[in-house]
């Protein structure tokens, strides 16, 4: 039986959810929060989106979309174009290639793997930025940003899991 046009459109829209959710995370991080002290160490929310979807729905947020998210992040953050593009791309690639390992594992394992991967990702961003600027960036705020990102991971995973259950349960 052929699916009607409405069903097709519904599926198509639902398939856009991972990308839109990650894009939304990017926009949310760029809101001026007016919270004292947060500026300079704000968590990298889009990275969590890329990581989450790479494990649970790599078909809907493929490498090239992760790359696009990274480029948008570069543009909004004012970092040299390509730095976060590369970082997001590598995070997506690594997580998606190891996804069989994560499926069915406990949350603690996912968190631990995220800590490892994000450590590598932020370290790479730090290295690239330092090379492009021609001098070392102070690593202290970068470490704080890393820790903030780790702290936010459980909340974000819960939110993304709810999103997945709501929109992508059977498509």
């Amino acid at each position: 039986m052929k699916a009607s046009i409405w069903v097709k459109m519904d599926t198509w829209v639902r398939h856009l959810v991972p990308f839109s959710a990650t894009l939304l995370l990017l926009l949310v991080t760029s809101i001026p929060t007016h919270i004292p002290g947060l500026a300079g160490i704000a968590p990298m929310l889009p990275l969590m989106g890329v990581y989450y979807w790479a494990i649970y729905r790599p078909d809907l947020l493929p490498a090239w979309l992760a790359f696009v998210i990274g480029l948008l992040y570069d543009i909004v953050a004012g970092t040299p174009l390509g730095v976060n593009g590369l970082v997001m791309l590598l995070v997506q690639g690594t997580a998606a290639s190891q996804r069989k390992f994560f499926l069915g594992k406990s949350f603690a394992v996912t968190w631990w793997a995220f800590a490892l991967l994000t450590g590598g990702a932020i370290g790479l961003a730090w290295l690239l930025m330092s090379v492009l600027l021609g001098r070392t960036i102070d690593p202290v705020p970068v470490v704080f940003e890393y820790l903030m990102t780790l702290c936010f991971f459980p909340i974000l995973t819960w939110l993304l899991a709810r999103t997945q259950m709501a929109f992508l349960r059977d498509v």
């Binding site: 926009l27 949310v28 991080t29 760029s30 809101i31 001026p32 929060t33 007016h34 919270i35 004292p36 002290g37 947060l38 500026a39 300079g40 160490i41 704000a42 990298m44 490498a63 090239w64 790359f67 990274g70 480029l71 948008l72 543009i75 909004v76 953050a77 004012g78 970092t79 040299p80 174009l81 390509g82 730095v83 593009g85 590369l86 791309l89 590598l90 690639g93 961003a125 730090w126 690239l128 930025m129 492009l132 600027l133 001098r135 960036i137 102070d138 202290v140 705020p141 970068v142 704080f144 940003e145």
Partner: protein, 295 residues
Amino acid sequence: MKQSGAAGRLATLRLLAQRFAFLSLVAAAFALMILGKADVVLIERTRGLVTDALAPILDAMARPAATIAQVTENFHELTNLRTENARLKEENARLLHWQTMARRLESENVVLHEQLNVIPDPDPAFVTARVIGDLGSAFGHSMLLGAGSQDGVRKGQAVLSGEALIGRIAEVGLRSSRLLLITDINARTPILVESTRTRAILTGDNTLRPRLNYVAGSPTISVGDRVVTAASGGAFPPGIPIGVVASVADGVIRVEPFIQRHRLEFVSVVDFGLGGILPFERAPPPERRRRGREE
């Protein structure tokens, strides 16, 4: 696991294609970085276009955040009303003293100006812009403003909050622009230590307290000295307050800027008619040729 036949070969081919696509994206990322380093106008224009496209969404999202911040601020103020009142009374007494001093100095200044036939500085034009984006990344201190070239914002213009300098415009789109804070790693501001008239360069390093480099001479700079902009380089008019010296240790002088980044909601982009600061390492654009083409 071995697959046989055409299906298996197709799967291998698809895998190869995927690998190839991935590697070409990695190569593209590196190409973009190098292209950006070479400062191609195309990259800058693309960045401007994308921020312009995102600006209305960011603006709409920034407004409720600002409202929430205002409400919490109001509650905070209500609880501290008594102490705040006492502080303000004390400050008012101090400021009244300064007011009489300023009046006296102003009249004296007017007389001196007349005697010396001083040409007055032109009143600067300014645009007030809303802060629509602040990613708060550890890799750079910048903000997106909801005003661009169509509102008169130009690259290199000084950005003030109240009376204090907070940064300069680094990128301009049609209706959005990027404000590079003085604490950013790319920011260099010529300054003057007010009490000793010592010249130096304020160098941002992505921390909250930028440091002073290239200090002229061997002056005695002490904690609490006020730091203002210097006229050198023709970037900013002299005397705009920036901050106070926060620490002097082992030859490293750090400045605590007057910026309260979390409170910035509106900033003024000021055109002092000085052309603004141009980033280092970049040659000035060929103005003459460009003008010639327009005419």
